[in-house]
Symmetry: C2
């Protein structure tokens, strides 16, 4: 990456964005976007202004998980106006510029890079306390662009499930973040320890502990464990934010309280 | 894509590869690689010579699912020698050229494209009846390169889970395949209808029927439904091919028999 792409326009446009965290993963399907949305919601519920930037260009699901499929990004005074998901949450996603919900974005790397730049330099973000950036799985163009383009990126939050394949890919993500000198790296273990909702028996689909183990082995922060709760998935599927419905008192909501406190402490 | 990249060297090198299918998905974590590996194994078990090409450069998991992590690609007579997974199965993956298992590949699109070209033009594939190409999720550089570079690609197999988010992303994959004029498009519904192994009750984590519905709606072939079986996941996690252990008689093995017969018919 040459410096000419790190233009001042991004720094100027994002001057009001205090803290920026990237949520990413090695493997797809680990619930990364669900974690990003609920984390953003929890931080907002604590009284902060939050921005959510979805740079998963081929599978931009933030919008669907929040039930915002009908909203479109509009321009105003030469800037792109973000979607107001809640009073204190602004959201931007490729999904909101697509013609239809199921239009595929058949773009190669360089074009994706340009779109991400535009999201950083041309969106009217205004004043934001915490920006959560949802990146697609893997270590390709999108997370690389974020790591290189976002000024003062505070940290990367790696989401993994405990199964060994996901953990292997999480190791790659941690090494990726290290190589790119992202200051803080934390691991969230999602879909941990599944309990049958009918008989209460533990079903070892995804196992448990893999995320914590890898965080310890690699010397990064373990941010917490989110247990497998079918409602977390089913509400996401319906476009509802789990934490909006279950504010407190469930193992999942407690986990998010813990994780969001850690993130706020870092800010 | 300009034509200069569609060089004759790929066509010459792949002259002995009769049929080529790409397995892809809109969303990650739908079991795409598990489906690709077991499908390849089943076709081989029916007496065909099979090649497996893993173009998931950031998360090359084919190798891990087959327990081939220790194998490395070597060169011989100016060609890359594929890994012999079984007597009649050759495998090539980025994972086999990485220094360590958890090295991240931090590459942008153009570099990935070059590596994929090399896998097509410089690997000693020899004579192969069916090549299964495992692509990463989404509609980015890798599946695009395959669609544009592989001569005579027979078809694309879209893997989805029944949950609505995955189905939405599968729609994108189908539209992607259509826009790229891939001749045949089929849908496999994976992780369908989960049953608790302890009490036998149905747990609607991933629902059922979403894959079939989308295939019908979009007028593409429905290739079959693979039920959620924890052993399919746990064996994959251990690097064992499910169908090598459960040749027949389980719902999963029957589903693969049906799907592989369809693919063989198309050859």
């Amino acid at each position: 990456m040459n410096n000419e792409l790190k233009n001042d326009d991004i720094a100027i446009n994002m001057a009001g964005v205090k803290n920026k965290f990237m949520v990413f993963s090695g493997k797809g399907g680990v619930g990364k976007t669900t974690v990003a949305v609920n984390l953003a919601y929890r931080i907002m519920a604590k009284g902060y202004k939050v921005g959510v930037l979805d740079v998963d260009i081929h599978g931009p699901n933030i919008i669907k998980l929040m039930g915002l499929e009908k909203e479109r990004l509009v321009s105003k005074d030469n800037k792109i106006e973000p979607i107001k998901a809640f009073d204190n949450m602004k959201v931007v996603s490729t999904a909101s510029i697509l013609e239809t919900e199921d239009s595929p974005v058949i773009w190669r790397g360089p074009l994706k890079m340009k779109l991400i730049r535009q999201f950083l330099s041309d969106v009217n973000w205004g004043n934001i306390d915490y920006m959560i950036i949802d990146s697609p799985p893997g270590t390709g163009d999108e997370p690389l662009s974020i790591a290189q383009l976002v000024p003062g990126l505070n940290g990367g939050i790696v989401v993994t499930t405990p199964q060994s394949l996901a953990v292997l890919d999480a190791r790659k993500s941690i090494r990726f973040a290290r190589q790119l000198k992202i200051p803080f790296i934390g691991v969230v273990e999602n879909m941990s320890g599944f309990i049958c909702p009918h008989c209460g028996a533990r079903i070892d689909i995804f196992k448990t502990g893999g995320g914590q183990k890898i965080a310890e082995e690699m010397g990064v922060e373990f941010l917490g464990r989110i247990s497998y709760e079918t409602e977390l998935m089913s509400l996401s599927d319906e476009g509802k934010v789990y934490l909006k419905i279950h504010k407190n008192g469930t193992p999942v909501s407690e986990a998010f309280t813990y994780i969001s406190n850690k993130i706020i402490e870092l800010g």
